[in-house]
Amino acid sequence: MQVSYYPGCTLEGTAVDYAASIAAVAPLLEVELIELEDWNCCGASAAHSINHTLALELPVRNVLIAWEAGRDLVVPCALCFNRLKVAEKALAGPEGRKWGPPPPRPLKIWDLLDYFSQPALLQTLKDKVVRPLTGLRAVCYYGCLAARPPKVTDKEDYEDPQNMEAILQVLGAEPVDWSFKTDCCGAGLTVARPDLIEALVQRLYDRALAAEAECFVVSCQMCQANLDLPQRRIAKKTGRPYYLPVLYFTELMGLALGHPDVSNWLGKHLTDPRPLLQSKNLL
């Protein structure tokens, strides 16, 4: 199955672990990710916060390239996904024609998690699990922008999504139910207001622990960075010994499918997930 792929800027930079795990598991699911030719930055929070023109022009260029390529487009970053969907809506709206005619065949923009949790791919995944993740208790954390607002994302289960849990179940792990899977972690303010995100993130740690989870599983590199990078700092400030590794769902897929590079990806995290996985005899 061929599909266009928009990695986004962070997957070329700080999120190399996410990028590598995606590149490794896609072929195992018989998915060929074809990187979008000459893609550019989606503009992210910066553009939509202070420059509404760039907030559209930048992602519109990418959607036009995707139309030209003629394949559905898969996006791993929730923020990029959101901005590309905004651009898609603008192209379909009253002012859309200024960018040219619509595509002959409408194509779909997917966020990676939705794409990988299509029923057929879940079945493939199930057939290929060689190392079930037995006993791994995880909360699934979806964050904000892959789902909200639904009039942009076209999602139905935006308050209580279930597809990451579905993947974990197929992998043999134990997804733990909790009520905070779409609460905001404040990623956009990480650099400018670390004090604010510490409050939001600590709340998520405490809620995950209250649900007796041992780790977070995420599908967005902004959420990953925001929960992982400040963990030691927050532990030090609060005097609470938080140890909650933050894993990409694609890393867990790689682990359950027996991919040899898993340990490399995990070694890029600041809160090292390997001791947890070793204690469960999963690594």
Partner: protein, 200 residues
């Protein structure tokens, strides 16, 4: 007429219609707000705000430009879209927050959260300089220069934390100093930035 005035902080305010009209033009109409406060109830950042999201909407509807353009609220809003998702009247509250940030900058209002505005400006500058893709080290460099808080950060220990974090990332191969790939569309993207700057 005294009775038609709204009171906030003990001051009598005269309602006006211009702001609501401009928001309507920007497809961000606030007229239908009936003050149910659902937006504020679900907002994760109210603890850092001076006006609650529902108050921002109400004040915008009443034309209180000065109050909403000076507010901290839009700058600490994380754009999580919970409010916009849940508003029973389809008001795009998060969109209004963005509009207010851009308008406050454009009109030269003193930004109450300069760190945030400088971060956004540095981000766009880094994408422009990078020819269309973001280099994270360039962003962080530009932001540190722009924010100019080096001495304060040094004293509070924040700088040490930042350098340590940078080192932790670099030694894991996650901070790559090379510039982003040169895009074929670089001239087109440069024109986008140019046009976006020249617009009124």
């Amino acid at each position: 007429m005294e009775t038609s005035h709204t009171e906030i902080g003990g001051e009598a305010l005269k309602p006006g219609f211009a702001l609501a009209a401009r928001l309507r033009e920007a497809h961000l109409a606030v007229d239908a707000c009936y003050q149910c406060k659902k937006c504020s109830s679900g907002c994760p950042l109210t603890f850092a705000m001076d006006l609650l999201p529902d108050q921002v909407i109400r004040l915008a509807l009443l034309g209180q430009e000065d109050l909403v353009l000076r507010a901290t609220t839009p700058w600490v809003c994380s754009s999580c879209e919970t409010c916009t998702t849940r508003c029973p009247n389809g008001i795009d509250i998060a969109g209004v927050m963005d509009w207010l940030k851009e308008e406050a900058l454009r009109r030269g209002y003193a930004v109450p959260q300069e760190q945030v505005s400088r971060f956004h400006q540095s981000f766009l500058e880094a994408v422009r300089l990078g020819g269309g893709r973001l280099s994270e080290p360039l962003l962080l460099g530009l932001y540190s220069i722009k924010s100019g808080k080096t001495l304060e950060k040094l004293k509070s220990g924040e700088l040490k934390e930042e350098i340590l974090l940078g080192w932790e990332l670099a030694r894991r191969g996650r901070l790559r100093l090379r510039p982003p790939k040169r895009l074929k569309g670089a001239p087109e993207i440069a024109r986008m930035f140019q046009a976006a700057q020249e617009r009124p």
